[in-house]
Symmetry: C2
Subunit: 405 residues, 2 copies
């Protein structure tokens, strides 16, 4: 069967012919994409020898300006071209980071043991899968019933590292994890961000009208608050993890009991998904930290983030003086959280995330200054930054493309 690749646009083509043509184009796209990824790793290898930064914003800007212009000649709006190539560049940058991390660490490629909350397909497990998906190094999960047991497993050396949620865009900080970070003084060695979509799951054949009791982790329940507002006759109950809630529903086989859990867990449980995405906001993200006993070396070619805790002397303006240090060195703070210190009533501890590597000269200098002002500074680790920010084109340059009126 011989077919033209560029099908005529008239109505003579059957839907199937069109779809076959699209399928062939998709395979071509995938092949070229695979080739591009190989070249991208060759670029990483080159940069590793020359110690150049992975990202070169000027170079990316050139590339994107060129492509949006070429796209317009092909009838593609600049915003569409940008969205496609931001996706491709993000993958390329992440692969280069992973390549460099793998080729600078002296670690073996033996699978890592990773302490994970709950059961297979818990949100922590999905975040771990996402984190390691593009990495050469694999992991084996050790499932733990609580955050505390994760920290204990890491401290005892029974596992190589652990993954714990630290904040959610809807429900805020997971204060228990903040407190454990303080107590166990382990090192943060990485971060991951997961888009979270909660599902309501019950036994086969149950309907939403049957449900009287819903079990889940307190965070999941908080993120689905509006669902409970809409169903005032449904009671919520806390469980230590979404996966243990799911297990409970599977065991009881009672149509009045439901759990809130991830899509992946729901679909793998053999239970029935009564409702998808019952979280208050569809844009619902959880940030996870990877925690280990030993620190990680982030090569200077890769952007890093650092977390520290800070205690200030009991005098007015002490925190401001500390923050001034970050400002004066132009260090970008990405998070500032205060937590009461359990052993020192009315005193606050500050958690600070900022961009930069504790081994950078400028950060080292800032930390020395900070230690002179603060009563205590504890480094919780420098680790590769998760977010790969899209290189922007100048709005001026784009404005004559966008504002066609």
């Amino acid at each position: 069967m011989k077919e033209e690749r560029s099908a005529p646009s008239g109505g003579v083509n059957s839907l199937n012919n069109l779809r076959q043509s699209i399928g062939r184009l998709d395979e071509e796209l995938l092949k070229i994409f695979a080739e591009r990824r190989k070249l991208s790793l060759a670029v990483a290898a080159n940069k590793l020898t020359t110690n150049k930064k992975v990202r070169d914003q000027a170079q990316e800007k050139n590339l994107l300006t060129n492509l949006t212009a070429k796209g317009q000649h092909l009838g593609i709006d600049p915003s569409v071209t940008l969205s496609l190539f931001h996706n491709i560049i993000e993958d390329s940058v992440r692969s280069q980071y992973d390549y460099i991390l793998e080729n600078t660490s002296s670690d073996s490629l033996e699978p890592l043991t990773l302490a994970v909350l709950g059961e297979p397909d818990s949100y922590s497990h999905i975040a771990a899968q996402q984190h390691f998906a593009t990495k050469k190094r694999r992991f084996e999960s050790e499932y733990c019933p609580s955050f505390l047991s994760i920290f204990k497993a890491i401290e005892s050396g029974r596992v190589d590292l652990g993954i714990v949620p630290i904040e959610n865009t809807t429900a805020g900080n997971i204060t228990e994890v903040y407190d454990l970070l303080l107590e166990y003084k382990l090192n943060i060695v990485g971060e991951e961000k997961l888009k979270v979509k909660h599902c309501l799951v019950a036994t086969q054949g149950a309907t939403i009208d049957d449900i009287k009791d819903v079990y889940s982790h307190p965070q999941a329940i908080a993120q689905c608050k509006s669902f409970f507002n809409e169903h005032p006759n449904i009671n919520s109950h806390f469980r230590s993890s979404t996966s243990s809630a799911l297990k409970l529903v599977a065991e009881y086989q009672n149509p009045s009991i439901a759990a809130i859990a991830s899509e992946q867990a729901a679909e793998n449980s053999g239970l029935e998904v009564l409702s998808y995405g019952i979280n208050n906001y569809q844009e619902n993200y959880t940030r996870f930290l990877l925690v280990a006993k030993k620190t990680i070396e982030v090569p200077s070619t890769i952007p890093a983030k650092t977390t520290l805790t800070l205690q200030t002397p009991q005098k007015p303006g002490a925190l401001l003086d500390c923050l001034q240090v970050f400002k004066s060195h132009s260090i970008n703070m990405t998070k500032l959280e205060s937590r009461p210190i359990p052993t020192k009533p009315w005193q606050e501890l500050f958690y600070i995330d900022f961009e930069g590597n504790a081994s950078d000269l400028i950060i080292e200098k800032a930390l020395v200054e900070l230690k002179q002002i603060a009563s205590e500074v504890t480094l919780l680790g420098s680790y590769p930054m998760h977010d790969i920010l899209a290189t922007k084109l100048d709005h001026h340059a784009l404005s004559n493309q966008f504002n066609r009126l």
Copy 2:
């Protein structure tokens, strides 16, 4: 100059050669993508004649399963292939929706006049640009100083439609717009979702230490609450729009005054951006509504959303009875908001968003039932749904790809 397309992966290639090869691949990608878009519009034309739904989840699932398998043979992780093609499919679906809307409405292709809050580059203006970017029909902005003046401009017929923010993932609902929707009884004809990144902007040469007063729209200030917590010596002041705040800074040329505004506005203002992304949460989205005097016809081939308001009789369980109607027809509610009725103290009005078109038979039936229970039901409009949900692959099907341990 003759060059091999697939460059060897060794270290002999200079960075420039590698980049040139990548550039050529990118252009090829773009060309194939453009061809794919043409075929996709031919599919839309075909579906328009046969009245078939634009999305065919089974077909998309086949396509994605096939591509992730092919990708794995090329060394690409399924998550990477999915992410790439979700992006491509989303563009394709959106183009097909736009094609069908343009070819079923009897409207001319004259530019629309659109009432927009603030000045050029206000968030509303950026949302409007994003909304029309992929559409054939263009728009001309009429800038209005307040939400009220937007509603008045639409009601008077001076503009074809208006765009107004309705909710933000960090700061919640824009209650003023809810109240105006109620008062003016205009029609919702579309929605748009914008990722919002706030910047701190001051006169050239100012530093963050100089800043004493920051001006912006109350919503922007609410979304940057943690910034003000970190800088207790900086006072916040409300302005009617982020763009009017920017104008104030530009006029006063005082280094102690700053504004919070969009990146686009900041960069086009000639002022200095002191800090990018000062919002509490990086995942910060605002949903906008497009509002007009006349309703829009959403063809049945395209997924629609409907908004209505509801008043319930003053008796216990009245709201539950109403919500029961949605449940019993398996209609997916996406939002439920209550607002006090200004003219009737202690009575609540409910705003409900749900998936479906008011002209669908099942929705019509549900609305008839609803009107029997509620004391008042007002349709605010059916409009094309903004979110294009990614077709998921079965987790079972993927699990042996993902769980390599």
